[in-house]
Structure formats: C-alpha cells, structure tokens
Amino acid sequence: MPYLTGSGDTRFGRLEGETTLTLMATATAAALEDAALERRDVDGLLCGYSTVFPHLMLATVFAEYFGLGPAYAHAIQLGGATGCAMAMLAMRLVQSGQCRHVLVAAGENRLTGQSRDRTVESLAQVGHPDFELPFGPTIPAYYALVARRYMHEHGVSEEDLAGFAVLMRRNAGRHPGAHLRDPIAVPDVLASRTIAAPLKLLDCCPISDGAAAFVVSATPTSARRVRLRGAAQASRHQHVSAADATVLGAGLAASRAFAEAGITREDVDLLAIYDSFTITVLAQLEEIGFAPRGKAAVLLREGAFEREGRLPLNTHGGLLSFGHCGVAGGMAHLLEAERQLSGRAAARQAGEPRLAFVHGDGGVLSAHVSLVLERE
C-alpha cells in the first residue's frame, strides 16, 4: 500500500538567488528528513519540468546534482496536473513492486529567473500554434473563454468568482510560507485591473518562485499513516477551442478515483483543488459535484469551504495566494492535504480530516488527475 511518508517545501514568493536545482534540493532535503530516509534509500525519482531551466532529462540532472542513484527515474510534463500525475505514478511504482521509496520533486525560480513577459509568452504556448496563437491569446484568455461561457450557462457572476480569491487569501494569511498574505475583499477583486475579461488580476494566480517534494513509500517510515488510496486521470481536449465549458474532464477523473478508493464523494472531509484562476476551482468543484451547478459560490458564502466548514478548501491558500511556481504549485495542494491528514497544519488545521480529495488540472482544464488520500 503506498504511503506518503515525507514532504518538504520552500516558502513561495520572491526567492532571490535561487535556481531550479537549488530550490528542488531544498525541498527534497526537507522531504527526506521528514520521511527519515537517506539519499541511498531513494530507488525511484520523478521530476516535473521548469520553464526557466528547460532540459530534456531533468530527473537524471537532479539525481546527479543531489546525489541520488535511482533505479527508476524520469521527468513528466502534464502542465499543472504534473504533480498529481507524478503522485499517481509513484503510487503505481510502489504498488507494482518496482520501487520502495519514490521521491517526487519539482521547483522553479519562475518569478526571479525570467521576466514576467517571458513567462506569460511561454505559458500561452499551450494554445494551438496554428489556430489559436495567431490571435494573441494568453493563459488567462483561454480560461476567460471558459469562464464567460460557464457563467452564461450556469448563472455565475463575477462576484461569485471573486469570493474564491478572497477565501484563498484568507487561508494564505495563516501560512507563513505563502506568497500573498494581505487580506482582500470582494470589491478589491472586482476593482483590480482586467487581464482578460471577465478575469481580473485578483482572479489570477501570481507567478512565484518555490519548490515542493514528497516521498511515496511501500511501508510507513514514521508513526504517520497517510496513504494514497485512489488515483485516476481524464482528458477530453487539449485546446480551449475544442473544449466543452461544462464537461471538462474533472468529474470523470474524480469519479474514477473515488471508485478506485472505494469511497463516495460524500465521504470526503477536505479538498485541495487546482485554482490557477477563480473559474478553475469553481467550475471543477461543480463538475465533480462538491457543489451543484452554479451554486459553489452560495456554499462558499455559507461557509462550507472555510477551515471550520464542512469541506475546507485549499487551506494553504492555493495557487491564487500561496502562489504558483509551476509544477510545485500543484504539488503544494498535495502537501497541504498530507499535513491536514497528519494533523500538522498548525494554525490552518481543519479539525481531524480522514479523507482528502486532491485534484490537478493542466493546460486549459485539459489534463485532469484526481487523488484520494487517507489517514489510516
């Protein structure tokens, strides 16, 4: 049975003087210490990618740099879903007997390592090179196209979206490692400058530096008992011009993961759902069924997603406020779920959750990976 035996990260934000490799090393050292493992214990290594340091073989580059000699190693590229996809593969590697301890690591100096213009331009490339990029879209524009249609079909307002940005900021305020911690209110979100209508600056996650790492093992290495109980994927499109704004794939991935875990949606105690934009988390909550269509913001206003609520959501502050440094940004959700399940979330601790649902999406809601984590 695959256990999450250790995790580590850096704070997110502006981390001057760091590189992709130094950030990955810091998070990895913390994860190994947390798991009470040595370098020689790691027999599997999965890495993400870095837009600042593109390399064909990041996993073996990092293995050499950090001093690992894995029997199985490679990188994965699935956009924002990469972290959850690596967790799923680590789970399978352990289940199959291929590995005993799989280290998953990612980090990027995305904020200080390149200009914001360069990041915006490079991320836009997930669009279609021939039939989308000539029109000058950006990642926010792709999500804005989903947002406007979704709002039209399901009666969602800009205020509804803004509520999720406010919640993420409130949550980040309880995490010393979060990138953005100053409280905001709905009018601040609505008054922030337009990026791609209807999305405004505060509907969008920031660009951060940071790193995260975790270890998936065949047996526990400490007194903690958090295991990966289910994992699944779905993909229905790559490009927004081939997407259905209501059936994006999140619901399919989630139902497959619930089936593997042998649970139902109603059993879940805690949520960690990818939130690159406010629409991302709202649409996925509704598609998966944690809220009825068009009603996620109503549940939010009723307090359901607060730390004290029925379904605490992204208690670390999510991509929207904890920050987004690429692959590690999506891994932060998984780290937070583990900390909540193991009772280590400090000021953010949301009771004593037993089952957490973690979801990552990559591209324009193109690649979906759902995970079910359990405290035994």
């Binding site: 029109f135 950006t138 081939a242």
Partner: protein, 120 residues
C-alpha cells in the same frame, strides 16, 4: 508544428475563404485540419464555410502575450460555432455577446489575414 494543411487554411484566409475539413466517410466537420478524420479515421476533404455562426464565448484581452499584440490591445477573442458544425477561435469586433449571430470576415495583422467575427 505547422504543416501543409495549416498553410492551406491560411492561404484561404488570404483569399477571403474560410476553409475547413469534412470527413468523406462519417461527414463530421473538423476545423483543426489533419490528414485523417479524428472521429472515424476516414479521409477528410476541404470545404469552404459560408462563415456564418454563433458566438460560443468571448474575452477581451487587456494583458497581451507579446509586445507585438500590445498595439492592438484591448482586443476581443471569440470562440464561434459555425453553422457547418465546427468551432473556431477568431478575433471579434467589440460589443458582441454569447449567442450573437456573426459572420467571419478577415482583417490584416502583420503578414496574415486573420478571421474576425463581425455582427451579421
């Protein structure tokens, strides 16, 4: 990434034609052109769209991806469902809404003639 079929599409735009593919086997319309039908694997043939359709979604881009687009900003980008049964991205004239009936025209941007949704 660009291939001959993309070049054929853009040559159509330069000539004022909106070209798309339809499968000669199953009849499915396909906008992103390929040497095969993504539905059934059959052989697609090129057709010319009448250019009439309905706005599926819209955004106004304020923060541009590159400095080249900054001169144009803010500009509207739409997803348009064409009456022939395919969806495409296009520029859009300001003030359209979801559900607006549009006709695809073309406007010059640099070397290209770009499809642009205009009120029908």
């Amino acid at each position: 990434m660009s291939d001959a079929s993309a070049a054929y599409f853009w040559a159509g735009c330069a000539a004022g034609e909106l070209r798309y593919q339809r499968c000669s086997g199953c009849g499915r319309a396909q906008f992103h052109p390929r040497p095969f039908c993504a539905g059934c694997g059959g052989e697609p043939r090129w057709e010319v769209s009448a250019g009439r359709g309905t706005v599926y979604s819209l955004t106004t881009v304020a923060r541009t991806p590159t400095p080249e687009f900054a001169a144009l900003a803010p500009y509207d980008i739409a997803l348009v469902d064409l009456d022939e049964g395919f969806r495409m991205m296009a520029h859009a004239e300001p003030g359209l809404a979801i559900g607006s009936r549009v006709r695809i025209g073309f406007h010059r941007l640099g070397e290209r003639m770009l499809p642009r949704a205009e009120r029908e």
